[in-house]
Symmetry: C2
Subunit: 190 residues, 2 copies
DNA sequence: GCAAATACTTAAACGGTGTAAGAAAGCGAG
DNA sequence: CTCGCTTTCTTACACCGTTTAAGTATTTGC
């Protein structure tokens, strides 16, 4: 019987694809092994366990997402940059719901994907250079933007907005308008 | 052997408590049965299956959360109402992380918890009465607020804000200041 | 072309989910 | 009170996914 050619990288990629198809929570060692034409136990020669595999998928997703966001930012500033970044984020989550779900797992084990997380924060800070925000307001704004993007995408993909006829796409654009407005006119501390 | 007195209600409550202690994903029929001093199979006389139980916990959480938010809103308007609602939301999620996680599962099966979801949307609309927003801006703002609250709480509990010294509590207050500002000065369509 | 390293299979233990059959406890009516 | 019905719980079991250990096959390097 010829070898299947399993490697940690191919395993991670296959897990990511499977997650996008059937949901991150439904990615099992059995299903993955099936996809490779291999018995489940064979996977344990390449990854420590399922948790290890999930962390790898999370790192992959965060890295891909950071790449997309970085590409969207080149040559843009101000509201242009904000909108491009936000759309890159949201589009990735819609194209790759399984990967996006993976990216939400807690980044505990030291620093496997922590560097990717840093890239995201740095890019958000780069966007804010187009606005007039000094520390610590800048950090508050970074957190606000991150929350906004994640929250909107999260609720949208969970069907949380489905019960109202208003176009979700338009609400998204108007939300970005509102974010731009508040960044341009950041309120002073109470 | 005396009966354990299991009912769907007590089962749901115990599942919610267990979820807050060990995480919603780790609530198993076995663990629940152990807590009641009963064999796992006994639970299936009271709930159809685990999915059924999870939906019940989600409905409980959404209902409790709506009750808290409603209590926070009485006698308040404008920014007061916004802040009280937001804090009720965030405090509940921090006190009951397992329940909060349960509340995020997709509300597919017809309308078990859909009424609670409606209560949330209605309350958010009530807050917006303190601002000058007509439809469809109002719906956009409802979605923005919901995304903001969920996103912030979600990232905060996942440790997404831990890598920076800025006080997460202060960032939250400043974010609410920003939301209040943008609601008072909602930008017109481009 | 052989030895060592690597990939994969088989076998099995463990634990969770869920179903079916039966024992036992509670309940209502006479 | 007790007979019989309903409900609760147990036992037994089938199935699936995870993971380890031991063994077999394949590839690689010398």
């Amino acid at each position: 019987m010829a070898r299947a050619g399993v490697t940690p990288e191919r395993l991670t990629l296959a897990a990511a694809e499977l997650a996008d198809e059937i949901g991150f929570q439904n990615v099992t060692a059995s299903a993955l092994a099936r996809r490779f034409g291999v018995k489940p136990a064979a996977l344990y020669a390449h990854v420590k366990d399922l948790q290890d595999l999930r962390v790898r998928v999370a790192a992959l997703a965060l890295s891909e997402l950071a790449d997309r966001a970085a590409a969207a930012l080149v040559g843009r500033a101000g509201k242009d940059a904000l909108v491009a970044f936000a759309n890159a984020y949201r589009d990735y989550a819609k194209e790759h719901p399984g990967r996006y779900a993976a990216a939400q797992i807690e980044p505990d084990p030291e620093t496997p994907a922590a560097s990717a997380a840093r890239r995201h924060a740095d890019m958000t800070r780069a966007i804010l250079r187009g606005y007039d925000l000094a520390e610590p307001d800048q950090t508050d704004a970074v957190r606000m933007l991150g929350s906004m993007f994640h929250g909107y995408v999260s609720l949208e993909t969970q069907g949380g907005f489905g019960r109202h006829p208003r176009d979700v796409e338009v609400s998204w654009q108007r939300t970005l308008d509102a974010l731009d407005a508040v960044l341009r006119n950041w309120p002073p501390p109470a």
